[in-house]
């Protein structure tokens, strides 16, 4: 057993890292937020192409961690599923879909409760402001799409879980950096046990998320007997880590954490957004209860109905 990334994963990460470090990450985001400056389209195109070359599940998941860490836009993440920069969508309970990312992208990746599909661009779009000010959002009508097969759908969820683990790591890095440099009472704020412990908890959550995400991706790649359980565990661990670490990052920044130009809040909004792509915390929990290797529902002991499987189509 060796859970650590190997040569394939390392090579995939090496293809995206220079681009990410040059154009994304906390410092670049701080500037963009201040100047309302979007990520240049050519950067998105190059990043999407580089990330899209990770064709397996483990290499793609590890690349997604890097994307999350540096707050790569949602269309780069979806490019890993669709092959080209795409918008992301989820069904809206009142009908239609909620769309995230560029409304004019050629493809939309639709995350249903468990099924995942690809559709054409939306036929109608009703723009909304998003909690994440850098991600376009809309209520939209989508046409019939084509569902990904089970393995590809699971891979796409593993990618989202990886992205969340990366968000957890990025938020932690941002907070740690600030704790080392911000001086109050004549010493860095990170010298205080209250801050130290908060950051140590971040590190614990990040490690848990990273480990579970690696485990889940490897289980999917190896046809482990319970890949869906492990994937659900990865998703749950990573959503919790991303959310809590982002909130710690805001807190550690004090007044700065409440400003639009401090990227800490981007980690929080992005974490909530990706959690919704995965169906929201309650659906994620339901998957942990309903999907054992023998297909039985944990609470009732009966066969778990495949009720969650909803193909992407307009309602």
């Amino acid at each position: 057993m060796d859970l650590l990334p190997g040569p394939t994963e390392d090579a995939a990460v090496a293809r995206v890292r220079p681009l990410l470090d040059a154009h994304l990450g906390a410092v670049a985001w701080g500037r963009r937020l201040r100047d309302d400056e979007p990520v240049p389209p050519d950067v998105i195109a190059r990043l999407s192409a580089a990330a899209g070359r990770a064709a397996g599940v483990t290499d793609a998941t590890v690349v997604a961690v890097e994307l999350g860490r540096t707050l790569a836009p949602i269309e780069v993440l979806t490019a890993m599923v669709a092959g080209a920069p795409a918008a992301a969508a989820v069904p809206h309970p009142a009908g239609g879909f909620t769309l995230f990312g560029p409304h004019d992208a050629a493809v939309v990746v639709v995350w249903g409760d468990e099924a995942v599909g690809l559709t054409d661009p939306p036929t109608t779009v009703d723009t909304r402001a998003c909690l994440d000010p850098t991600t376009p959002m809309a209520r939209a009508t989508l046409t019939e799409g084509r569902a990904l097969d089970g393995a590809a759908a699971a891979r796409s969820r593993s990618i989202l879980a990886g992205y969340l683990a990366g968000l957890a790591r990025g938020a932690q890095d941002l907070a740690v950096e600030h704790a080392k440099t911000r001086v109050q009472f004549d010493r860095p704020i990170g010298a205080n046990q209250a801050v130290k412990h908060a950051l140590a908890e971040c590190a614990t959550r990040t490690e848990a998320a990273w480990a579970t995400v690696l485990y889940g991706a490897t289980a999917l790649a190896e046809q482990h007997p319970e890949p869906h359980f492990w994937l659900a565990a990865a998703v749950r661990t990573a959503t919790a880590a991303a959310d809590a670490n982002a909130r710690t990052a805001i807190q550690v920044h004090g007044g700065r954490g409440y400003t639009l130009e401090c990227p800490a809040h981007l980690y929080l909004a992005r974490a909530r957004l990706v959690t919704q792509l995965l169906g929201g915390a309650d659906r994620i929990r339901a998957q942990l209860l309903g999907r054992r290797a023998d297909g039985r529902d944990l609470r009732s002991g009966h066969d778990s109905p495949d009720a969650g499987r909803r193909l992407p189509r307009d309602r």
Partner: protein, 379 residues
């Protein structure tokens, strides 16, 4: 021990409730500017004309001289009517005003207090600096004596509503050689004079209510110092204690409305047992805050100045506020990602609640205060 209000309190409540039906102010405009100022000023003026301004303030300065319980009723009823208390009136009415009442001279009280109550003047608070937040006493904005004036140079930050304020309560360094808590002075700065440069900062809720303020040779008459020169830290402690204690009462009470809003949303959209369990806890959380506030008011009514117990309320308020507002966006599901620029919207409240453990002294600092001053743990 009793919960029942006196007949006087009951009459006060009923009259105020009736008055609010007719006179509630329009919702504030989303951006901080002349329209917001006009709205807040008009609201304060109508409160004053109806006798609902300065409930506990002395009568000679335009107040009503009523009890803290009636002040609490005032907060309850206005919050019940959906009126927000975090606005440009906050510093004057709940912060600078009470400090001047506690520490100002008769002349200062006569000069500054009535305009606050009448809505003639908006105040802001210039305490924090870029390098002096939690460690407020390390502030570096200087005020040098020049005849009958002090001349100010430096930078303040996070000054809420600086762009529409007339006056600013400020902490400045008047004696750079004294130990850091001793060389500080509390004064009132006229915001409409040359040498003041105001740069608004955008917040998470996409407005710019707080600002960075630069001072270049700004003159303040010595007569506008409150308390003695170099004694500002003591004056500020009175204000901070007040802020931690009851000044946030309105916000606390408003949270029970937020929980009702969440219940309605949950019922309309449907949600699972786990969510209802959290809603149940939220109801208890709000009740506990309300009880803590009542206890605090009872304590202050007997002992006068709020003590370090105020930090307990502030800590709990911050936690509960964040828990409840997170629940609010969770209940909304995917719609919880939609930012709505209205301070009654659950997503707006969610983002705003992130400041509840930072503004007015962070939760980490409140925990130190509780541990050291209340529990007597070593520093």
């Amino acid at each position: 021990m009793e919960l029942a209000h006196t007949p006087d309190d009951q009459i006060f409540r009923e009259e105020l409730r009736g008055w609010l039906v007719e006179h509630a102010p329009p919702p504030p405009p989303p951006e901080v500017g002349p329209a917001l100022r006009a709205r807040d000023v008009a609201w304060q003026r109508s409160l004053f004309d109806a006798g609902y301004a300065g409930i506990t303030w002395p009568r000679e300065y335009g107040g009503r001289g009523l009890t803290l319980t009636q002040q609490m009723i005032w907060y309850e009823e206005t919050a019940r009517a959906g009126i927000s208390h975090v606005n440009s009136l906050f510093v004057g009415v709940s912060h600078a005003g009470p400090t001047i009442i506690a520490c100002g001279t008769d002349e200062q009280k006569a000069r500054w207090l009535p305009p606050i109550l009448r809505g003639d003047a908006i105040w802001c608070q210039g305490f924090s600096e870029p390098d002096a937040g939690s460690d407020l006493a390390s502030l570096r904005t200087t005020a040098e004596r020049d005849g009958d004036d002090l001349v100010l140079n430096g930078v303040k930050i996070w000054t809420s509503y600086a762009q529409i304020a007339d006056h600013q309560e400020m902490l400045v360094r008047t004696d750079p050689d004294a130990p850091k808590h001793q060389g500080i002075t509390w004064l009132v700065c006229d915001m409409r004079q040359p040498g003041i440069e105001i740069r608004p900062i955008r917040t998470l809720v996409r407005e710019s209510h707080f600002c960075e303020v630069h001072y270049h040779d700004v003159r303040v008459p010595i007569a506008d110092v409150v308390g003695a020169l170099h004694d500002g830290w003591r004056v500020a402690r009175a204000t901070l204690a007040y802020e931690h204690g009851i000044a946030n009462l309105g916000q606390q009470i408003r949270m029970s409305r937020t929980v009702e809003q969440i219940v309605e949303t949950a019922r309309a959209r449907g949600c699972d047992d786990a969510m209802w369990a959290r809603i149940a806890d939220a109801r208890a959380d709000v009740a506990s805050l309300r009880a803590m506030t009542a206890l605090m008011v009872s304590r202050i009514s007997r002992e006068d100045l709020p003590g370090p117990e105020g930090s307990l309320v502030k800590l709990r308020y911050g936690e509960v506020s964040q828990r409840i507002h997170e629940l609010g966006v969770d209940v909304l599901g995917v719609d919880g990602l939609e930012f709505v620029a209205d301070d009654h919207a659950l997503t707006y409240g969610y983002l705003a609640s992130l400041a509840a453990t930072i503004g007015g002294g962070t939760s980490e600092i409140q925990r130190d205060i509780v541990a050291e001053r209340l529990l007597g743990l070593p520093r």
